[in-house]
Amino acid sequence: MKIRRSWGEKVFDSANIAVLLLFCVAVIIPLLNVIAGSLSSNEAIIHSQVKLWPVGFNLKNYEYVVQNGVFWRSFGVTLQIVLIGTTINMLLTILTSYPLSKSWLGGRKIILLFIIFTMIFQAPIVPMYLLIKNLALLNSIWALIIPGAISAFNMMLCITFIRTLPEEMFEAARVDGMSEYRIVWKIVAPLIMPINVTLILFYAVGHWNNYFGPLLYITDRALQPLQLYLYNLISQFDMDSVGGGESLLELSTAVTPQGLQMATIVVATVPIIIVYPFLQKHFIKGALLGSVKE
């Protein structure tokens, strides 16, 4: 179907494309700026010659990041939190969602209300901090995993999805003598794979990017996750917490703080940028499911 466009429409269409292009450029420029800086020479950075393309291309900054034990320790802590945390998140979310997806289950409404209330009326930070302190979880990675074990929002997505599965299928499984626990792991979990992927991504990205939790509960440098490390690196450039102090001082003529900061930012962002294009459609699916109103 070809519709003839008027002169005004043509102007609008061109302007529209231009405006959207401008938005994209605005998103890309800060990223490009840091990538360019991280690949530039010390002199180029100091004399502020770097714009959006590397000047005096070299990989010195990356060499220091790769050799920096403290950076990799934080990277490892974060990786551990992502793996353990997401596993626990998924187990608990599916386990809680399955019974709550049964509209006939007595008390379901009350339990749902009990959970939704926590989304609307949030507890202040200080009592939460005191609770973690009393549970002796300060300076433990469990303080970053257990308090966020279930996201009420993600659980609602999961319930919505499970409800689309036909009840007859569960009946048949029960007639075959399957227990409800086996039904959850053998039937429900595999059948809701699309939403599983989405939730795993939401939880994993949440753990990867978590900064507030470590700021509250982690003071031990050996346990600081990546985001806390990055914050210390960028806003304080405190040698003790940043690491690689000696080798850095030795070769301080080769790298500048800015160069090192930029290279670290790039290395810490790369995992997200790499997985993002492949998983984009799952992310969007999750965002859309969230908008379904019961």
Binding site: D13, N16, V19, L52, L105, I120, I125, L131, I265
Partner: protein, 320 residues
Amino acid sequence: MESGTVNGAIAKLSTGTPKKPGFWKYVLRHRAFYLMLVPGILYFLVFKYFPLFGSVIAFQDFNIFKGFSGSDWVGFKWFEQLFTYDKFTRLLRNTLIISLYQIVFAFPLPIVLACLLNEVRSMAYKRIVQTVLYLPHFISWTIVFGLTYMLLSPSQGLVNQLIAATGGESIAFLQKPEYFRTIIISSGIWKEMGWNSIIFIAALAGINPALYEAARMDGANRWKQFLHISLPGILPAIMILLMLKIGHVMDSGFEQIWQFLNPATYETGDVFDTYTYRAGILQGQYSITTAIGLFKSVVGFVLLVIANRVSKMTTGEGLY
């Protein structure tokens, strides 16, 4: 059906409360489901409700060694102190102004973006724009702060290079209170504009194409079609998200503000959340900061209820 009879036998043996024999029988029969709920309910009880009840320390002279039960009760002392505290007005002002700016500047942009994308004819171009604009949502605030820090650096930053090239003086943007709110709002838009447009894009896609067809027959141009079909079509989504945003007026986004904030910018950037962290967690003033938290939660809850009622009266859309 074996388990059914076993359940029945157990139900008969159980000596539940005599008043409601049916209740325990029911729970026992479906015990698999209720057992599955135990870890989840326990989680919400311990990590969501317990801290909520722990907020009683806002009414106590809380002493960490005496605990919740041993500390003295002081009534509304902390709230009175809070409302007469000279910094309170600054915290309230900063929190409200940043939220207001977010509603005025950051909230409408995803709607505009969705409408613009809806008018793009090339599917490939539309998809590329979406892919690029959704990306920043997955970049942490720490990294966004890092990017901003590099961009605005007074000595090497790209922005100051441009200022220098046009003959201006370089500006230490992150140290100036007058730029703080602008930076917060802009970086927030940079990160979330694309992602927040998804809901509106979906709402636009859900509009019946027959409506546009009919409008074209009646001679409506694209602007008229937008005004009379697209806009009313996404109004429910706009209202619901606006209400949720109003419910969060007192939360200004700790993760973001804390990283951009420094003593030089407290004047325009110190909000309830950042003050709570400094005074409560770092300095141990537990009671008064819990009073702030409770004040925030109650105000947010009340605003949400009011916004919902107003929205229901004016547009017929509501959260519940």
